[in-house]
């Protein structure tokens, strides 16, 4: 009896799924959001799938950002690519150059008659992913920006006011000295050093990172980040490493281990790192403030630039699927969905409406400091130097910068020769990219 019941249930289930598969158009979305972020992605697609009957978005976790991009490229070349792929910001130039492979968002939205308002987005978020004449290429999704964190307990121990973060780099030096003198193992550390110390330091002080509007103006761009202010900054930090006022903790997100272990009193890190620090040190012991600046370079900070990833639409799928892709991208950027994503993950809200909605809900009152990232991004209207970066072979250029900076931290090179070398080697990579894509 139970056997018959079971098999008939199974048969019905098969029938039902076959029917829904026939009625629904499936949309493949490959992403790089693991762990808690992956759960947030699944919750988002579930909500979309329940909200309508025609399309079913299937999120597939593909590993790291590089893994996801490599998988999507391999699949596209085999004509098996996904509809949507999440690509990190340094892959933007690679995606843009692949003209036959990507379906720009502005064009997709126009082709599918999906309402779309460029002014709804936060300036530096929109600017990073649009053409020089303001057309959006990929849908902003998870964006972050560097902020300043400090450990309030260590501040107290060092006799510093735990509610008063340093404002300038000079202050940071003084604070770091006090922290180290009070027995802290490390004053300051910084994750994603190339993104924060070279790229964002430039935008924050309105200095160009590369010619041709940081690469937005053409493939024949040249790196110029070996300027006097950045040489001075790196030299200063190299000097600080001698007495642990600054401690280098590795590439990408690795230095955060120095902060969560309670070794470091201060850290420059992605706004997305907040939840990790809160979990390790307790929310009331962690402060979030704007990045420090150098008043001698610029009297007031400009605005910060973003990191993170966006959603690119790939070509080569059946026409019917693109209608669903357009609807889904609208859904992702709608105020309520974007606000929920921002609050759940710590990434910045991508639209002004989502920021306003979060503000009105009282979220920032219960989560102090979570609005700092948006404030930094919208501090001033972005300039050519603070709109973002558009460089080919950017992953390798960052590797080169990492290598040269590590030579400085190990005491093998001074800042000037390291940055000069990084610019020279980086320019060779840019020329190679130019040659492959002209």
């Amino acid at each position: 009896m139970s056997r018959i019941l079971l098999s008939s249930v199974a048969a019905i289930a098969v029938l039902a799924s076959a029917q829904s598969a026939a009625a629904q158009t499936e949309i493949q979305w490959w992403h790089a959001m693991g762990g808690k972020l992956g759960e947030a992605v699944n919750a988002m697609t579930d909500e979309f799938n329940k909200s309508q009957k025609d399309y079913k978005v299937v999120p597939v976790y593909k590993g790291s950002y590089s893994d996801t991009l490599t998988a999507a490229i391999a699949a596209f070349r085999a004509k098996q690519g996904p509809d949507i792929v999440q690509v990190f910001e340094v892959g933007t130039a690679t995606m843009m150059a692949a003209k036959g492979a990507v379906y720009p968002v502005y064009q997709l939205m126009a082709d599918e008659n999906e309402p779309f308002d460029p002014n709804a987005f936060i300036g530096p978020v929109y600017g990073y992913y649009s053409t020089t004449d303001g057309k959006l290429l990929s849908m902003p999704f998870n964006s972050s920006t560097p902020v300043f964190y400090w450990n309030k307990e260590l501040f107290k121990k060092a006799g510093l006011d735990p509610e008063k973060p340093p404002k300038t780099w000079e202050d940071v030096g003084t604070y770091a000295k006090k922290l180290v003198d009070s027995g802290a193992k490390c004053g300051l550390t910084a994750e994603w050093q190339t993104w924060i110390l070279l790229e964002n330091y430039g935008a924050w002080h309105n200095l160009p990172f590369a010619t041709k509007q940081n690469g937005f103006g053409g493939l024949d761009t040249q790196l110029v980040f070996n300027d006097q202010p950045r040489v001075k900054l790196i030299n200063m930090l190299a000097d600080w490493t001698k007495d642990k006022r600054f401690v280098y903790g590795g590439r990408e997100g690795k230095p955060t281990a120095l902060m969560t272990s309670g070794d470091c009193g201060m850290e420059l890190a992605s706004s997305g790192t907040a939840s990790t620090l809160f979990a390790a040190l307790k929310a009331e012991n962690v402060g979030i403030a704007m990045m420090p600046y150098s008043p001698e370079v610029k009297a007031q900070p400009q605005n910060s630039i973003i990191g993170g990833a966006t959603l690119w639409t790939l070509r080569g799928r059946p026409k019917a699927e693109y209608k669903g892709v357009a609807k889904f991208l609208s859904f992702v950027s709608s105020p309520a969905v974007a606000a929920k994503w921002h609050q759940d993950t710590g990434y910045v809200p991508i639209t002004l409406a989502a920021a306003k909605l979060t503000e009105e809900s009282g979220f920032y009152k219960t989560h102090p400091g979570r609005d700092i990232a948006v404030k930094e991004l919208t501090l001033n209207p972005p300039t050519e130097n603070s709109k973002g970066l558009r460089l080919g072979n950017f992953v390798q250029i960052r590797d080169v910068e990492d290598q040269e900076l590590e030579a400085v931290w190990a005491g093998k090179k001074d800042a000037k020769s390291a940055l000069d070398e990084a610019v020279k080697r980086g320019n060779e990579l840019l020329r190679k990219f130019e040659s492959a894509n002209e």
């Binding site: 490229i73 072979n393 894509n437």
Partner: protein, 293 residues
């Protein structure tokens, strides 16, 4: 008289080797051919624009001084991994061979690390030596040594060598132990009766008789050091700090898969493959001659 197997059917031997040939063709010759073809192309990541550039990828590789740094590093690294891996495992095998009580326990313990993938070995060693939470670091700090593989390149290289050797010692140990156990006891006993001490017996009898095993392991370990150590480097240092651990095989991966530079990465693969063929050839040509089977 030479032993020969004769088949009644002419096609049978071909049929029997066919599966092996098919596997070699599909998994070696075909991808290698693709790699060689890719190494003379310049194309964007999605394959939209492909340009035939002759040896441009090789030229730019040879014009890059950091590439030769990587070659030099790879030679030092491989020599260290192979030499240390063979020496340590030979020592362990000789000692395990002499143990009478509980020998299977020791053997099991020594073989166990082989069950750990190189990538996992990298993560384990990374935890032990982590500058902020590593237990070994904490102990070293206690005796006044500041070990920080994240900043110090030489220490990073040392750590990667140790992790790579640790992951390979078990394999070598197994072969050495089997080699030792196949040496006739009567030979050693005869030498002992003639008055040869343990050291003399090892160098004059055991070592020469182990030479075939040792030679086989030398070839395998060199190849392991060149390509098999990828997992250790990828999980432990990602080639850094600076370029202190950026060995050729990691550079191939990094430029190809992270950097999407397929042409340049393929050119590096071609050179790495030639290097491996050359090394194996040299080993067979010059070292195997001195080995008596």
């Amino acid at each position: 008289m030479e032993k020969r197997v004769t088949f009644n059917e002419r096609w049978l031997p071909y049929l029997l080797v066919a599966p092996q040939m098919a596997i070699t063709l599909v998994f070696f010759f075909w991808p290698s051919g693709q790699m060689i073809w890719q190494s003379v192309l310049l194309e964007d990541a999605f394959g939209g624009r492909t340009k035939f550039v002759w040896f441009e990828n090789f030229k730019s590789l040879f014009a890059d001084p950091t590439y030769f740094d990587s070659v030099r590093l790879t030679i030092v690294f491989s020599a260290l991994v192979a030499a240390l891996g063979l020496a340590v495992s030979l020592l362990l095998a000789v000692m395990a061979d002499r143990v009478i009580r509980g020998s299977s326990f020791y053997k099991a313990i020594l073989v166990w690390p082989y069950a750990v993938a190189p990538a996992v070995a990298g993560v384990l060693w990374g935890f032990l030596f982590n500058p902020s939470v590593g237990i070994v670091n904490w102990l070293l700090h206690g005796v006044g040594i500041d070990f920080n593989y994240v900043v110090n390149g030489n220490q990073a290289l040392l750590l990667v060598v140790f992790a790579a050797v640790w992951a390979q010692v078990s394999y070598n140990f197994l072969f050495f132990l089997a080699g030792l156990q196949s040496i006739p006891k009567s030979l050693i006993e005869a030498a002992a009766i003639d008055g040869a001490g343990p050291t003399r017996r090892f160098w004059d009898i055991v070592f020469p008789l182990l030479a075939p095993t040792g030679f086989f392991l030398l070839v395998i370990n060199t190849l392991y050091a060149l390509v098999g150590t990828f997992g250790v480097v990828a999980s432990l240092t990602q080639g850094g700090p600076g370029q202190a651990t950026n060995i050729l095989v990691y550079k191939v991966y990094n430029d190809g898969f992270r950097g999407q530079d397929l042409g340049g990465s393929s050119a590096q693969s071609v050179i790495l493959m030639l290097l491996m063929i050359l090394l194996t050839f040299i080993q067979f040509r010059f070292i195997e001659r001195r080995v008596h089977y």
